[in-house]
């Protein structure tokens, strides 16, 4: 048990910017303190760009429970994460999307989109994904030494999700660049000032309308076509914009972040790298889930309490923000054996990186397949992958990306 109260910085951008590469870049000790000593902790933010305060819930089982109880912890009363401005929050000028809906409305809209993301539908993408992975690894082998985050981590989901969503090839770079800009509002290397955040949101929402018009004229086998074909009474123009922004932001950076943190851990743990190479013909799902767990690409999401109630002795009031700190729940020894170890064969892995309730990641099966195929390709076609410099992290406490991961690969 931890006893000394650490300076609570689990939601400070600098904590993640200066993360310790030997603890997944995460403040594991502070998380342990929260879980052990303050499992329902009132955090004050003191930053004009962030919400005022939130109750942090950090134990794995509590996150499962909060995420599944949308009657008590609503998603449709404003707020997505700790940011004051998000493209999905109508209260601050954004557009409504699935993530900010509950009940029947959520179910109807999710129903329109979920058919494209079922395990069976995703399986049909395998050949296409393998072709992308092969091209990406070709290019990487040509270079030899490169930044894994951009050359591999970014390239794969951009093409794969571009296909799934129906973004034309020529537009993919700019489409995902807007997401990168508004998803890193606190990292001046990526987003020089807040004006860029607003402009990127504006551009993406505007492009969503254009894309909708394109799909009405030229329907394809993709998600955006399904959104426009559902009709305006099911999905309004505003909701089309919001959902495109949601799908875009969930699509690329999360997979890139998982692949990058995963590759970093593989290089730190040669026995795990060897295990993955042994399984290179058919990488088991346990490996993918373990990478997603330690990566925790989004550290948290928030809900709003719909009634006064008590949790771990704290009095939560109707209207209070409750923050599910996924990153802390993913290292909870109450739910996982030896949680601080990176173990690709881990059987029991109730991680909360995708969420566990009705808002669970829509793209989890697509992301899993992308990662599996890309890692298979990499393992089969290289005999060595080694660091060519130090890892550095994105300065953000929500979307905790990797900024640079220099690697050198040697062909098989």
């Amino acid at each position: 048990m931890t006893t000394a109260k650490p300076d609570m910085r689990v939601l400070d951008a600098d904590t993640y910017a200066n993360g310790d590469p030997t603890t997944f870049g995460l403040p594991l000790e502070q998380y342990a303190y929260l879980r052990d000593e303050a499992p329902c902790y009132l955090h004050e933010f003191n930053d004009p760009m962030l919400i005022d305060r939130a109750w942090i819930v950090s134990r794995n089982a509590d996150i499962w429970a909060v995420d599944r109880n949308s009657e008590l912890y609503a998603a449709d009363r404003g707020g997505v994460n700790m940011w004051k401005v998000t493209p999905l929050d109508p209260k601050v000028g954004g557009k409504p999307a699935m993530l900010t809906m509950d009940g029947a409305k959520h179910r109807t809209q999710r129903g329109v989109m979920s058919k494209a993301f079922t395990p069976g539908m995703v399986k049909k993408l395998e050949d296409k994904f393998r072709e992308y992975a092969s091209n990406i690894v070709d290019a990487a082998l040509e270079k030899g030494t490169f930044n894994f985050v951009t050359d591999i981590g970014h390239a794969m989901p951009m093409e794969a999700l571009g296909d799934v969503l129906g973004v034309p090839s020529g537009d993919r770079e700019k489409f995902f660049a807007w997401v990168d800009t508004f998803a890193a509002p606190f990292d001046t290397r990526i987003t020089p000032s807040f004006e860029y955040v607003m402009q990127a949101i504006f551009d993406l929402l505007g492009y969503a309308v254009e894309l909708g018009e394109l799909k009405r004229r030229e329907p394809g086998e993709d998600v955006i076509t399904q959104l426009v074909q559902a009709g305006a009474d099911v999905i309004s123009e505003d909701e089309l914009m919001g959902n495109v922004a949601l799908l875009a932001s969930g699509a690329a950076e999360s997979t890139r972040t998982s692949l990058s943190h995963g590759m970093h851990e593989l290089m730190r743990n040669p026995e795990q790298m060897a295990w993955l190479r042994e399984h290179a013909q058919d990488i088991p799902n346990t490996a993918i889930q373990e990478i997603v767990r330690i990566a925790t690409p989004f550290t948290h999401l928030v809900r709003t309490a719909t009634a006064d109630h008590e949790l771990h002795g704290q009095h939560i009031k109707e209207g209070d923000t409750v923050l599910m700190l996924f990153a802390a729940g993913n290292f909870d020894e109450r739910a996982l054996d030896n949680p601080n170890a990176f173990d690709l064969a881990r059987e029991k892995n109730p991680h909360v990186s995708f969420g566990r309730g009705p808002h669970q990641c829509l793209g989890k099966h697509v992301a899993g397949l992308e990662m599996k195929i890309l890692l298979e390709e990499l393992m089969q076609r290289t005999k060595d992958i080694s660091p060519a410099g130090d890892i550095s992290y994105v300065r953000d406490a929500y979307s905790r990306g990797v900024y640079q991961l220099p690697v050198t690969i040697t062909p098989a």
Binding site: G111, T118, Q360
Partner: protein, 64 residues
């Protein structure tokens, strides 16, 4: 063991198909999951229990 799915809750998250592919399937153009085997044998119990536990909208119930 009897498997009951509340199709009014199902949102096609697909967790049950991953956990117990012999019992659950998602068919094209269906709005909720299809139960392939509503009375699976005991050897499938742990897989079905896993499916029920993983369902994000708790739409799966097991009797006996």
């Amino acid at each position: 063991m009897k498997v009951i799915v509340d199709s009014g809750r199902c949102e096609l998250h697909g967790e049950c198909v991953m956990a117990a592919p012999d019992v659950f399937a998602i068919e094209d153009d269906k709005d909720s999951v299809t139960v392939l085997d509503a009375q699976p044998g005991e050897r499938l119990r742990s897989a079905v229990e896993e499916a029920a536990m993983m369902c994000p909208v708790t739409a799966i119930r097991i009797e006996d």
